[in-house]
């Protein structure tokens, strides 16, 4: 029982800031309190710390007012690109040629790679923005939970056709879900929106590359509409930089 309580205390204390965790676990070791008392104490502190974080406007206002509209803007091109990539993979698997165009695998690759990278960059950027704004509340944030729900729903929908389900699962995980979660992780540990400038540059270059590829221009516009994306990319970066300035500093940072 004691061993179990100690293990749980260690697990729960990981939700605290590193300095907080060190000090609190040290205090319990020094006072020699019972394992269950230490567990209750740490759990109480975690609850207080989390509720303190949610008292600030950032975790509530910023994602709803800034992140959500841009995520919605991103969802249409992301769904289209993922469907397009899924169809390309399945058609190539069955017929040895690409979907719609009938081109072999080696051709028209620039647009395909740019489209894939753009989805990854958008997903990572969205996660980073959420992590940056919501900090330690990011993992309990409705946006993250909703993403997880949508992800699971998407997999369940596609279970009727096993090969397609595997394609969907792989494409969704590698292009959207994994970059998004990595972005949340990176953003929640970052004090500065430094990588955002590089991401902004990558978005503009990739968009320009997709739009200027002569072949299949019509499809490029269908996937990433030229009139929307540059505006969204700029607005996105501006929103992140603007709100990141209001970030809460952790203990010990002057």
């Amino acid at each position: 029982m004691n061993q179990m309580c100690r293990w749980l205390t260690d697990l729960v204390s990981r939700l605290l800031e590193p300095d907080d965790r060190t000090a609190v676990l040290g205090d319990f070791a020094e006072s020699g309190e019972a394992a269950w008392q230490a567990l209750c104490g740490v759990a109480g502190l975690v609850v207080r710390r989390q509720s303190e974080l949610w008292k600030h406007g950032g975790p509530w206002i910023a994602p709803v007012s800034l992140v959500a509209p841009l995520v919605i803007l991103f969802l249409t091109p992301a769904f289209r690109t993922i469907s397009w990539i899924g169809q390309q993979v399945v058609t190539f698997w069955h017929m040895g040629v690409r979907y719609e165009t009938g081109l072999p695998a080696g051709q028209d690759t620039i647009r395909m790679v740019c489209s894939i990278l753009l989805v990854i960059v958008w997903a990572w950027s969205g996660g980073f923005g959420l992590g940056l704004l919501a900090h330690r509340t990011a993992w309990q944030h409705p946006v993250v939970l909703a993403s997880l729900f949508l992800f699971l729903l998407r997999i369940m929908e596609s279970t009727s056709a096993p090969p397609l389900a595997l394609v969907w699962f792989t494409v969704w995980t590698s292009l959207v879900f994994a970059p998004f979660l990595l972005g949340v992780w990176r953003g929640s540990r970052s004090l500065e929106p430094g990588p955002i400038w590089r991401i902004a540059a990558a978005m503009v270059i990739l968009t320009a590359a997709i739009q200027t590829v002569d072949a299949q221009r019509m499809y490029a516009r269908f996937l990433w509409p030229a009139s929307v994306l540059p505006f969204a990319a700029i607005l996105w970066q501006y929103a992140l930089l603007f709100t990141a300035a209001k970030r809460r500093r952790p203990i010990g940072v002057e």
């Binding site: 676990l25 040290g26 205090d27 319990f28 070791a29 020094e30 109480g44 502190l45």
Partner: protein
């Protein structure tokens, strides 16, 4: 700066005062566990670690305390202490709270009166 609540005196809370007093009494030996032990010994009430650390944070953000990570000791399983030092503002606020309690208590008696 103009303040809408200029006529409202913002005073320390009771628990905030306990922490400032315990930290001031402990001096250079003031840190989380020692403050907690001091409060429990003097008040006879249990002090939760959650309440202690969130109040320490609040007092630090108000500029009444300064905290930093101290050295690790074997007694604490090699973990560092969160050291605490009361600032000049903290001393002023604690003194003001003590004065206010003394003044407001003047003439009041807390002896139990048997009315039967």
């Amino acid at each position: 700066m103009f303040c809408f609540y200029h006529n409202v005196i913002e005073m320390l809370g009771e628990f905030e005062y306990f922490i400032l007093t315990a930290a001031a009494r402990l001096g250079e030996a003031a840190y989380g566990a020692a403050i907690r032990q001091e409060i429990e010994a003097t008040t006879g009430r249990r002090c939760s670690i959650g309440a202690l650390y969130t109040t320490l944070d609040r007092l630090e953000s108000k500029g009444m305390l300064k905290t930093w990570m101290g050295d690790a000791t074997a007694q604490r399983g090699g973990r560092a202490k969160r050291m605490v030092c009361v600032t000049a503002k903290g001393i002023r606020e604690a003194a003001a709270f003590y004065d206010a309690v003394r003044r407001v208590s003047r003439g009041a008696s807390w002896q139990m009166v048997d009315n039967s």
